[in-house]
């Protein structure tokens, strides 16, 4: 099945009460399938056809504030249009689940994959998890609700998957029984926001200078605390639903996935579907005796500092491969890797490789070249792989 439909299946099984979405390429297949499910009566959700992504996320906000489970999905400009509301959702601590089918931002207009859209929202207070495979799309979608709705977290979450290169690709994946999903993720029980005339609450009030900083701090604390919750949920899910199809997901989900990192001297750090190609190149390099590995980032917000520090402790050369950029600075992931290496007093040589913007193919040759440059320490700090 298509990875997009792995998401639709998962959303069907988590039984949302409200789905509000506006179609945008390459997210369309997900919500198209969901609308069919609603029309067939396979999902009992209210499907709100909205006039824009701003309305979609606002409808989800309203729904979630009444104390029910809400879902939306978007890409690129659609996510950009939601930007204002993203902060309101996280500030009001509403655990909405969203899928971001990652796509480049305009201009020039481009419908293909990179990570500029969700990376631009990294400071919005939403949890961000990234999938590499269809199975991970399914699993992370189920888990995102369990994490977000945890009463010590109460933060919205995005699951990112690469547009087309993952979303439109057919892959086998395993779907657990509905009953088991129900056991894992029971009905949402609101603990702080609800629409109930017998207990009227004011949601989203003004936060005067006397309280604003403290409120932000509680949000940041919840984000930090969510690392532990994510780890726990990942573990619980991995045990309850053991991997069925080889190579479609890690045995046990964790903030990062390490591939041949045990004795690695050179390491790739990357996010999303490009990790599949990197693993292939690593296999070839390993057969030639190169000590090389990959650290795939699954949890990007909260940023798993300690897990990464541990993983990169003995590595001498690091290639951060990103499909995002911050004009005027280095790539967002690169900056954060550098800062944790500085904290860890590492003397590793780190380089930033910008790849695959706007759907540009990331070929095995590119990855080989990245390895050569990283190993030799050749080239500039930031290299673009055209």
């Amino acid at each position: 099945m298509e990875a997009s439909h792995a998401i639709s299946e998962a959303v069907k099984m988590i039984k949302p009460d409200v789905i509000a979405a506006y179609p945008i390429t390459p997210q369309t297949h997900i919500v198209e399938r969901l609308s069919e499910y609603v029309a067939n009566g396979e999902i009992g959700a209210e499907y709100i056809r909205v006039e824009s992504e701003f309305a979609a996320i606002s409808a989800c906000l309203g729904a979630e504030a009444t104390g029910v489970r809400a879902y939306t999905s978007t890409s690129s400009q659609g996510l950009a249009l939601m930007f204002e509301v993203l902060f309101i959702v996280s500030g009001m601590r509403l655990p909405i689940g969203m899928t971001v089918v990652n796509r480049a931002l305009s201009a020039p207009i481009n419908i293909w994959n990179d990570h500029q859209d969700s990376m631009s929202c990294r400071d919005s207070g939403w949890l961000q998890l990234y999938a590499e495979t269809a199975q991970e799309c399914f699993d992370l979608t189920v888990m995102q609700y369990k994490i977000s709705e945890n009463k010590d977290v109460l933060l919205p979450s995005m699951v990112g998957l690469d547009g087309f290169t993952l979303s439109h690709v057919y892959e086998p994946f395993f779907i657990p029984e509905q009953k088991e999903i129900d056991d894992f993720l029971p009905e949402y029980v609101p603990t702080h926001a609800i629409l109930e005339p017998e207990q009227p609450l004011t949601l989203g009030p003004i936060g005067f200078p006397s309280h604003y900083m403290e409120l932000r701090k509680t949000q940041v604390d919840a984000m930090e605390g969510s690392l532990k919750v994510i780890e726990k949920v990942f573990k619980e899910y991995s045990e309850k639903f053991p991997a069925q199809i080889k190579g479609t997901r890690p045995e046990t989900y964790y903030h990062i996935e390490e591939y041949k990192m045990d004795d690695a001297q050179v390491a790739f750090v990357a996010i999303g579907s490009v990790c599949g190609s990197i693993k292939d190149v690593i296999d070839v390099l390993r057969s030639k005796g190169e000590k090389v590995g990959l650290v795939k980032i699954v949890t990007y917000r909260p940023f798993p500092m300690e897990a990464l520090k541990k993983s990169l402790k003995n590595v001498k050369k690091i290639a951060v491969v990103e499909k995002a950029l911050s004009p005027g600075a280095n790539g967002p992931v690169f900056e954060e890797i550098c800062s944790l290496l500085f904290e860890a007093k590492s003397d590793a040589e780190v380089r930033n490789f910008i790849v695959g913007l706007g759907g540009r193919d990331v070929k095995l040759d590119h990855i080989q070249k990245i390895f050569d440059m990283a190993k030799k320490g050749a080239g500039k700090k930031q290299e673009w792989m055209f």
């Binding site: 609101p190 109930e196 949601l203 403290e214």
Partner: protein, 104 residues
């Protein structure tokens, strides 16, 4: 939806001396009756009772819902909440309402 109650006390936490709640949720009922919001009005709608025909358009159109119906064909502006937007004056068919500058 199942009937649910929020344990409001459990939402409270303290950072330093400041008490906050999860998501800034407030358990306050009827705060509007305590908080008068008309204070920042700069223009005041004055109704000329002699001209008024009691049609009720001001009552229908006021976006703040602060024109009250006192009796049949009798309408009164609640200055505690009136924002002075002038919509009532604009809608009045007999120009019975004039907007005058607030002077304190």
């Amino acid at each position: 939806m199942k009937k649910q109650r929020i344990d409001y006390g459990s939402l409270k936490s303290k950072i330093g001396n400041v008490e906050v709640t999860t998501g800034a949720v407030l358990e306050s009922t009827g705060s509007t009756s305590k908080t008068k919001t008309g204070a920042w009005r700069s223009l005041r709608p004055l109704v000329d009772d002699k001209k008024c025909i009691g049609c009720g358009r001001c009552w229908t159109y006021c976006p703040e819902g602060c024109v009250h119906k006192k009796a049949e064909k009798v309408f009164q502006v609640d200055y505690d909440y009136c924002k002075g937007c002038g919509i009532c004056a604009n809608e009045c068919p007999v120009k019975a309402i004039t907007m005058v500058m607030e002077e304190k």
